[in-house]
């Protein structure tokens, strides 16, 4: 397993390996079902859940509609509170800004709060190239980093690992990065947590620069909010002298009061907690406490393009709770790595092909990584109709059409590899508007039914490798109907 998603194969190929990995299947099944059930209980406790969900959706939609206004307001309030705001159009620009800011401090190591945005832009790799060591301090991110691995879940990046695997990673790798794991480390949760605590404490106390993302940015006050469960994030946000926060532009909300909704829906949706354990909020810098310098790097990286799409823009409402991953039957079996992105699962399947486009093999395959069962939409706390966006993106893949890339309106060509399917769909479409042709086909199938094989060659093998074909009946229904009810008025 390498630490990058670049050059990933299409989803079905990556999923094929995951489906056959029994340890991974067991780890994922246990973890997703546990949290899925807990979430359902936590949500059921609130009588006004449907209203909170609708409120969250409306706040996000309103903000996205007036994003230009709120971003400028945020820049003003953050600046007034002593922070500095930087704007990054894409990942490279964001990485250049952050690398420059770290170098200005003269430091060559940083501690990091768990952050999806910095993973999305590949910040750790960019810093490493510049000779800066970035230490992940979220327990699961630490496991991923020490294991030279990739995250496979938004909230629980090491969900694919069991305790035994984590013990082995700690024992082998901690010494390479700092304080080694204690001798004779077992796989009990308390011992593993203590090993991580000792290893990380050394880094917290030494670090002069902290890097974070944010769950929310409040436009009216310039306040940033990080929602986490361990307290490690708060260490990074308060101990260093310089704090750099890298945040997607869609994480903004207009007012402090809007937090009332999301601080109820996010914890219950993600960890099934009634109240989040560590909610850190800061507004610029404070003379007597905390970081002396605060930089906010706002990243676009495909978000404005996504916002331009009427159907797809709802993906920007996402508050990264992971409820859709935990309930998804495809994620449960394919695992997070198959999605080839830091955003796996149903939300990743609609986010990655929008943020990155549909040009690569993996991104063009993601909209199909769903049976459209709708469980993701049902649990989404901001009511993102993920199946609707998946189908919309399938259309973009097979038909091409208008889209926005780097701020320009373009007309995309259909993706490669769909020509045969397109021809079949057109032929079927023709037959279906000509009932006579359909009937002829049905009769042909019925007459030749004795000769039908149980398994199919070529692409049909995808069905018949694991499933028998249904037996074609002696006559289609319509022939029976005409034989038995034919004299009756039969409509058109």
């Amino acid at each position: 397993m390498s630490g990058t998603f670049v050059g990933m194969p299409a989803f079905p190929k990556a999923a094929h390996e995951a489906v056959g990995n029994t340890t991974l299947r067991a780890n994922l099944r246990h973890a997703t079902h546990t949290i899925r059930d807990k979430r359902a209980k936590a949500v059921a406790e609130l009588d006004d859940w449907a209203l909170l969900r609708e409120a969250g959706k409306q706040i996000k939609d309103h903000t996205l509609r007036h994003l230009d206004t709120y971003l400028v307001q945020l820049e003003e309030t953050v600046t007034a509170a002593g922070g500095t705001v930087h704007w990054a159009a894409d990942a490279d620009e964001a990485n250049r800004i952050v690398t420059h800011l770290v170098k200005e401090t003269g430091e060559c190591e940083v501690v990091k709060v768990k952050s999806m945005a910095t993973q999305e832009i590949g910040l750790n790799e960019a810093l490493e190239e510049a000779g800066i060591a970035a230490y992940e301090t979220d327990l699961a991110e630490l496991i991923v980093q020490l294991g030279h691995d990739r995250p496979s879940h938004i909230l629980v990046p090491a969900i694919h690992r069991n305790r035994g695997e984590i013990r082995d990673i700690f024992t082998k790798e901690m010494g390479e990065w700092g304080r080694p794991a204690p001798e004779g480390l077992t796989d009990t949760p308390a011992e593993l947590a203590e090993a991580a605590r000792l290893h990380l404490r050394e880094k917290f106390l030494r670090a002069k620069v902290g890097i974070s993302g944010a769950n929310f940015m409040v436009a009216e006050t310039g306040t940033l909010v990080v929602v986490e469960s361990e307290g490690n994030g708060r260490m990074c946000l308060t101990l260093p002298e310089t704090l750099i926060s890298v945040v997607g532009i869609e994480k903004i909300i207009p007012t402090w009061r809007d937090l009332e909704v999301f601080l109820q829906t996010l914890p219950r949706s993600s960890t099934a907690e009634r109240m989040n354990p560590y909610t850190s909020m800061w507004t610029g810098t404070t003379d007597t406490d905390g970081p002396r310098a605060f930089h906010l790097v706002l990243i676009d990286n495909g978000r404005t393009d996504t916002l331009a799409d009427e159907v797809g823009r709802q993906a920007l409402r996402c508050i990264r709770c992971s409820a859709c991953l935990n309930v998804c039957p495809v994620y449960e079996r394919a695992g997070g790595h198959a999605y080839g992105s830091v955003y796996p699962g149903p939300i990743g399947a609609i986010l990655s092909p929008q943020l990155r486009g549909t040009a690569s093999e993996i991104d063009a395959s993601l909209p199909y990584a769903s049976s459209l069962c709708g469980a993701c939409y049902e649990v989404c706390p901001v009511a993102i109709d993920i199946p609707e966006v998946l189908v919309h993106l399938r259309e973009r893949v097979v038909q091409g059409g208008p889209a926005t890339r780097q701020g320009n309106r373009v007309v995309l060509k259909p993706a490669k590899g769909h020509a045969a399917e397109r021809a079949a769909m057109r032929a079927a479409g023709w037959a279906f508007v000509h009932p006579g042709a359909l009937r002829a086909g049905q009769r042909m199938a019925s007459r030749t039914r004795r000769f039908h094989p149980r398994t199919l060659p070529g692409p049909g093998r995808a069905w018949s490798a694991t499933r028998d074909l249904p037996q074609v009946p002696a006559e289609p229904f319509r022939d029976w109907w005409q034989r038995t009810h034919g004299k009756k008025e039969s409509g058109k």
């Binding site: 999923a15 489906v19 709708g374 939409y377 028998d468 409509g491």
Partner: protein
Amino acid sequence: MRVALFLTCVNDTLYPDTGRAVVNLLTRLGVDIDFPMGQTCCGQAHYNTGYRHEAEPLARKFSDVFGEYDAIVTPSGSCGAMVRELYPRMGERARAEGRGDGLAAALAPVVPKTYELTEFLVDVLGVTDVGAYYPHTVTYHPTCHGLRSLGLGDRPYQLLMAVKGLDLKELPGAQECCGFGGTFAVKNSDVSAAMGEDKVRNAGSTGADVLCAADNSCLMHLGGTMSRLHTAMRPVHIAEILASTEEEPLS
């Protein structure tokens, strides 16, 4: 009331017994049901695979064929959801593409009068005991589009529980998708098969001898999996159970 049977292309071609069961059941309940011969396919496979524009003529044809009836009944949750949930969306998209209100107006009449079979029985006819007899142990799989798009809720259970002789067993993980998903079944066949096998295993754990659902597409996938795994269980559409009586039991 003029009632049309929208059987669906899959049932017409592969599962005529389900069609006959709906006709027998509704006739027994005093409904004069017609099968408009012009019907073909609602366009769901096209739409869900990304061929929305190719689905539009099929939707128009559907509206043309069924528009004159007072009620349209279908023994398929997913095809019912196509008409009820996605036809309005197709109209909206056409409008958003600057093609006017034509499609939306053409499709609007059929949307509110399309009913999935169990909805038609419980909501329109107001019956839960349809006088059926089916002396078997049955477990019910609520298919995704029936469950989440149409919101069939406990209607199928109410109907099954009123069937004489039927022993209904609760299916563990009932609300999880079976893995069919239309073209998903072949585009992501490994994941689809794994989901199907898990569903069949859960169904087997109930000890039931029949796995019942209100959608033959899902049952085609599950039945094919069962037969490949040589399980003792068999798939049966809910219409066939409800049509079965002591005088004319399901063979």
